[in-house]
Symmetry: C3
Subunit: 156 residues, 3 copies
């Protein structure tokens, strides 16, 4: 059996964690859209000031940076700095045949760390809280990359 | 036969769509370079004001934000918020053995939606046009992630 | 034997290059953290001005853009514009069965080009140096995507 197969329990773990993280990235985009519409501000392009169904009475201030909307964009950027690397290294990790408990601990641990980071960022918790869960997620990805390197370089 | 093999027609569909989307990301970088050189502005780093073959007569204003160049950077950021998630979830989608017509509809649909989004953004169409094709692409990725989750969680 | 297996030397090449590039993305995040703490500036969120262990005596100027910190963020953004596309297309490239020397040349060439780009950006080399190594990395990814497309479209 090949490692990258839906019958492999380690691959199933990866598939669940990766699908959840893909949903996280996409829903962060919709959180930005929701906040733009709710606050009627934080628009990014000059043409967004043309009157239309999404913006019936445009105002020049709508192009200014608004922390309510920009916070969601910063959260999105933070996702992009972490999640695609996890998606790639997670797949590699499956191919080196780790123990199931290790894969579950790391991958579900990453998902949990990013979920708490999201909540801490959205609710403006202090820098220390956000940094703690950023660090946990980041160290998991770094460990997985080093584990893959060690396994591949140890091959005969 | 393993699902992630070039002999699998569903994988072929993914390979074509993914290669096109990789080209899209890379060419967006070159569109930014082209616009920086054509407008001689929108530079990002202070050292870019040193005289050299790419910038023989530097001016401080070249570091200011210029919508012509910044538009291409915003398009690039929008790509990064959508395409890497598609690349990861598309691979997972192949492993759960979907019908070929479904994979083709979703994956080529995503490529088409991003192509129209690109044209709408580059030509400054109204917010509603851009939002429509962003939404189509986003919903396709979200559907694929939910489909993968449902299939994996339904395994015995 | 399936192509996406740790026994395949071409896949091993991809695994090494991809793991190194994942480390590059993650460590760029830590370079930003290091520079924020060393310069005590370049913070991104208003709540980071609350006093705490990471920032005992906050000052409003800490939220202003600081080139020392922002440079690391720009390097990170440049990574995100290039590396996730490489990670996805590299995997596809393995599945079309390239010669080992070609895979090694392209993949280790990409890693080397990004490493030199990193050094050029961090040490504020002139635009031309940075652009040269950006171009090498970008052309490698574009070549790999075209190679995959050509191979898949030539299948019977």
């Amino acid at each position: 059996m090949t490692a990258l197969s839906i019958e492999n329990p380690v691959f199933q773990t990866y598939a669940i964690a990766a699908a959840l993280m893909v949903l996280k990235i996409m829903l962060q985009g919709w959180m930005t859209v929701y906040r733009m519409m709710k606050s009627n501000s934080g628009l990014a392009s000059p043409e967004d000031l043309r009157p239309g169904p999404l913006n019936p009475t445009p105002q020049p201030e709508q192009l200014e940076i608004n922390d309510y909307v920009d916070r969601s964009r910063r959260m999105h950027r933070n996702d992009l700095e972490n999640i695609p690397a996890f998606l790639a290294v997670g797949l590699l990790f499956v191919t080196v045949g780790p123990a199931l408990w290790l894969a579950q601990g790391l991958m579900y641990g990453f998902v949990a760390a990013r979920a708490v980071h999201f909540m801490a960022y959205a609710t403006k918790q202090s820098h220390e809280v956000r940094a703690t869960f950023y660090t946990i997620g980041s160290l998991i990805v770094i460990y997985m990359a080093l584990h893959v390197l060690a396994q591949v370089l140890a091959l005969p």
